[in-house]
């Protein structure tokens, strides 16, 4: 489970952590991706596992468009840029929920039969649900890919530079809008992957994002902004803490454990575990 949180968080880690742009619509991105998977399944009977790349591609376009049409302008605000970003994306989240309700109806959907749904591998008495296993593998791959991408390519460095000073990258010939649109696209595509896998075993409805958004933020912050590895570690810790607290505290308080760990970590290390910002 932790790795799944990680997978959801990785897209956010890119947008929020590496580009330092607040995205309060992250949960809604996930919602959209889940609906995409669902409809691809419902109308064309494409298994979510197969459609994942399609969903990711569609989400890439969506993310880039959101950046170009909205976030770009939110980032221009010289006055309280942080708040403008928070509320622009928050407004976007509400609009997306409204649109989802309008077009997809508020019905709960889910994908009943998929290749993976409900299948379980049992290893020495420990049950490993396949979708989550695949989710875990995908998330490790996504993290590794993103890590290499950020740390080994010029694009990754351009992304960091743009975060540091969007006004200055033009001095070295970088188009900040291209870099960030690509970053948002990539972030959304990663959310798309997460959504496709989530769709296998989670229900889908317009407000589904709300269940995950806060956990995703905490995961990214726990690991530390600006660190891909941090988000990965954050995901694992969140998963572990959740499992452990469920044993000690009443399960309805299990998120208290996660939150408490976050508070503890930032109390000791105000920049999260591996944060650079």
């Amino acid at each position: 489970m932790g790795l799944l949180y990680g997978l959801i968080a990785v897209g956010l880690a890119l947008i929020f952590g590496l580009m330092d742009v607040t995205n309060f619509a992250h949960g809604e991105f996930l919602m959209l991706a889940m609906y995409l998977s669902f409809f691809l399944f419902a109308f064309f009977a494409i298994d979510p596992l197969l459609s994942a790349p399609l969903v990711a591609a569609a989400m890439f376009v969506f993310g880039a468009v959101v950046y170009l049409l909205l976030v770009r302008f939110a980032m221009r605000a010289k006055a309280n840029a942080g708040m403008v970003q928070i509320f622009t994306t928050f407004g976007l989240a509400i609009v997306m929920r409204g649109l989802a309700q309008y077009f997809f109806t508020p019905d709960y959907r889910s994908i009943p039969q998929s290749w993976l749904g409900g299948k379980t591998i049992s290893v020495a008495g420990i049950f490993l649900p396949e979708p989550q296993l695949i989710g875990a593998l995908v998330s490790i791959a996504a993290f590794a890919g993103l890590y290499l991408f950020i740390h080994r390519t010029d694009f990754g460095r351009a992304l960091e530079a743009t975060r540091e000073d969007p006004g200055a990258v033009a001095l070295v010939g970088i188009d900040k809008n291209r870099v960030f649109a690509f970053g948002w696209g990539l972030g959304a595509a990663l959310v798309g992957l997460a959504g496709a896998i989530m769709a296998v075993f989670f229900y889908i409805y317009p407000d589904v994002g709300a269940s995950f958004a806060l956990i995703a933020y905490v995961t990214v912050a726990l690991g530390g902004f600006g660190s891909v590895f941090g988000a990965f570690a954050g995901g694992i810790i969140v998963g572990l803490v959740e499992a452990v607290t469920a044993l000690v505290l009443p399960p309805s308080l299990k998120s208290v454990g996660i939150y408490a760990v976050y508070l503890l970590v930032v109390f000791i290390r105000p920049r999260g575990l591996f944060g650079s910002m």
Binding site: A161, L171, V172, G173
Partner: protein, 234 residues
């Protein structure tokens, strides 16, 4: 090579430079001087695309620059080192330099100018892994010029490069400018320290409250008694 024609630029209605025209020939070092707030920085910003001129034209090698996006202007071969340097504070010196050559990321020899940078500023080579924000003021200035050189400009525009630089290095920077010119680049410098600047410059312009007050060969400007009194403090 660079021709600025009757450029007017304003900040929220307040005109900072009005109808300023300057020319820079290939291989020249041109100095722009003037009092605080005369509009020197605004002129450079208008050329580099950081501010959009209200009217007038900027052409570089026959290409119209005004209205072009700033990163495209950089790509046409103009490197601009702004007054406040605008380094990437939390990135290392190495990454800052490397980003300078972003335009050449496909090239085998993308880091070509690095040698030049290290010969000009050996200090940078010692500080490669340090975050730019923790460099001392002078080191940051070196890095800013170094990063600009990495874009392989044909025209280098420096806004007060001597600011906050120790005397020994001021000379070195001016020497470096000469060497940069010798390496085939053209240089446009905005400076307060006119005396030193005029020593190396071929030609100079003096701005006053947003207009060109005087222009001519450096020698001539240096000899002008008004200039000596008003700007050189002699």
């Amino acid at each position: 090579m660079l021709s600025v024609h009757e450029v007017t630029t304003a900040y929220q209605g307040l005109v900072a430079i009005s109808a300023v025209s300057i020319e820079v020939q290939k291989g020249e070092i041109v100095c722009v001087a003037g009092a605080n707030g005369a509009g020197k920085s605004t002129l450079l910003k208008s050329i580099a695309g950081a501010e959009r001129p209200r009217s007038g034209t900027v052409t570089f090698d026959g290409k119209r620059l005004d209205g072009m996006a700033q990163h495209h202007i950089t790509a046409t071969g103009i490197a601009y080192v702004p007054e406040n340097r605008r380094l990437f504070p939390r990135l290392s010196v190495r990454d800052n330099l490397r980003l300078g050559s972003y335009l050449y990321r496909g090239d085998a020899d993308r880091e070509g100018p690095l040698n030049l940078v290290f010969t000009l500023f050996p200090r940078l080579q010692e500080r490669l892994e340090q975050r730019a924000e923790t460099l001392s003021g002078g080191e940051q200035q070196m890095l800013a010029i170094g990063r600009a050189l990495m874009t392989r400009p044909r025209l280098l525009m420096l806004d007060e490069p001597s600011q906050g630089i120790m005397p020994k290095l001021v000379d070195e920077i001016f020497q470096a400018v000469l060497r940069i010119r010798d390496a085939g680049m053209t240089v446009l410098i905005v400076e307060q320290r006119m005396a030193e600047c005029l020593e190396i410059a071929d030609r100079a312009y003096i701005l006053q409250t947003g207009r060109v007050l005087m222009q001519g060969p450096a020698e001539e400007i240096r000899g002008n008694p008004d200039v000596r009194k008003a700007y050189l403090g002699l």
